[in-house]
Symmetry: none
Subunit: 257 residues, 2 copies
Amino acid sequence: MLDRLRIVLIGTSHPGNIGAVARAMHNMGLSDLALVAPRCEVIHQESISRASGADHLLHSAARHATLEDAVADCTLTVGASARSRTLPWPMVSPRELAERLPSECQPPASRVALVFGREDSGLTNAELQRCNAHIHIPTNADFSSLNLAAAVQVVAYECRLAWLSTHTATEPSTLHEDTLASHADLERYFEHLERTLVAIEFHDPAKPRQLMARLRRLYLRARPEQIELNILRGILTATEKQTARRQVTQDTSSTHD
Amino acid sequence: MLDRLRIVLIGTSHPGNIGAVARAMHNMGLSDLALVAPRCEVIHQESISRASGADHLLHSAARHATLEDAVADCTLTVGASARSRTLPWPMVSPRELAERLPSECQPPASRVALVFGREDSGLTNAELQRCNAHIHIPTNADFSSLNLAAAVQVVAYECRLAWLSTHTATEPSTLHEDTLASHADLERYFEHLERTLVAIEFHDPAKPRQLMARLRRLYLRARPEQIELNILRGILTATEKQTARRQVTQDTSSTHD
C-alpha cells in the first residue's frame, strides 16, 4: 500500500523543506516523491543535510512542469488545503483519508497522490480543482499554517498507521468494481465536456460562473470508472454529432433560400 | 486540556529544531515549552526563522538544568524512545497516549510532560527511567530516527485530535455544501436523461445494454446536490433544444426539395 502513495510538492522554494519531506517520507516508509516546478535547487547542501540519510529520495524524485503531469496516472488525488474556499470541495481529515487507503490501493493499477502546495501560498484554486478531495490537518485557528515537511509528516504518519492496521485487519469493502479512470482520462473528459457545452450554447467561457468547477467537483467526487467515462464521452460525441448535423442542415437549407 | 501539556526538550543542539518545535506546538495549540540544558543558543536567527511567527514560545520557554526540575510539578511524564531498551518500560503509541489525556488532565492540578531527547542520542537510560511510560512513534525499521520537530509534531497532532474529540464543536468533514437532491428529483433527472439520450440517438431502449443502470450507479454514487442537478438538467434541456432545432431545420429544408 505505501508504495502506491505519491507525495507531490508544487513550487517548493526552500531546499531544506524538500530534504525534510524526504526524511519524513522515508521514516514512514514512503518513497515516491514528485516535484512540480520547484522554485529552488533540489540537490543542495541544505536539502541533503535535512534529508539526514534519505537523500536517495531527492535523487530519485520525478520532476514535472505541471500538476497534471505529476498525477496523470493517479486514481485518487488529494490536495492539502486550508478550510475555507469559495467553492467547498469534499474535505477529509488525514485520519479519514488514511482509513480509506487500504481499499483505495487494492485495484492493481491504483495510485494515490497527496499534493502539497507552496510554502507561502499553498495550492491555487485551479490546482485544488484538479483534486478528488481536499485534506485539512486540524490546527490552531490563530496559527494554522504548518511547515511543509510537518504537514507531510502528519499525513505520512497517518498513512503508515493505516498500513500497519491492515496487517491484522480483514479485507476492506470496495465501492468500485472496475478500474478507476486516471487523472489524465478525467482531464480529457473535462476538456471534451467544456467543448460540448459551448457547442450546445449552454456554457460561455467568457462568463464561466463556476460552471466547470461545479461539474469537476461532481465528477471527481463520483470517481468514475473507465467504463463509465467511456459512456460519458460517448454521450458527448453523440451530442456533438447532433450539433454538427444541425449546422450542416442549416448551411444546406440556407443555400436553398 | 492542551494547556496542561508541556513539551520538554533535553540537550537540543540545533536552534532550528527548537524553532520548528515552537511552530509545531503553536500550530497544535500547545504553549508550555521547557528546555533542559540546551546545547545551543535558543534565541537565534535560525530558531526565530523556523518558528515562523511562534517565537513568543522561545521567549517564554522555561529553562532547567535537569529533567527532574522540568517535570517536578507533572503528574504524568512520558518520554520519547526508540523501541528496544535493556529494561522494558510501559510503552504507549502516540494515539494511545492521546486517548488517555482527557482523563489524565481532569484532576485540577494535573500536568503532563512529553519529553524528547537529544538529536543524536535521544534520552539516556536514567532519563527514561524517570518516566511513567515511554512513547514510540511507529517508523520504518530501516530508517527510524525522526527529526526532533517532526516527532513533536506527530505527538502534538495526536494530542490536538484527542482534545478536539472531547468537544462537540469539532468541525465535521464535509462532502457536500448544499442540500442533496431528493430521490424524486433524481428520478426525474434519470427520465430526462434517458429521453435525451434517445433523442441524440445514443440510446436505444430496445437494446438497453445496462446503459441506464450504469449511469444511475454513477450519479447515485456521487449523491448530487440540488444545484448540481439543476446544472445537469440544464445541459439536457440545451441538448434537446439543439436536436429540436435540427429537426425544424431539416423539415424546413425538405419543403424546399
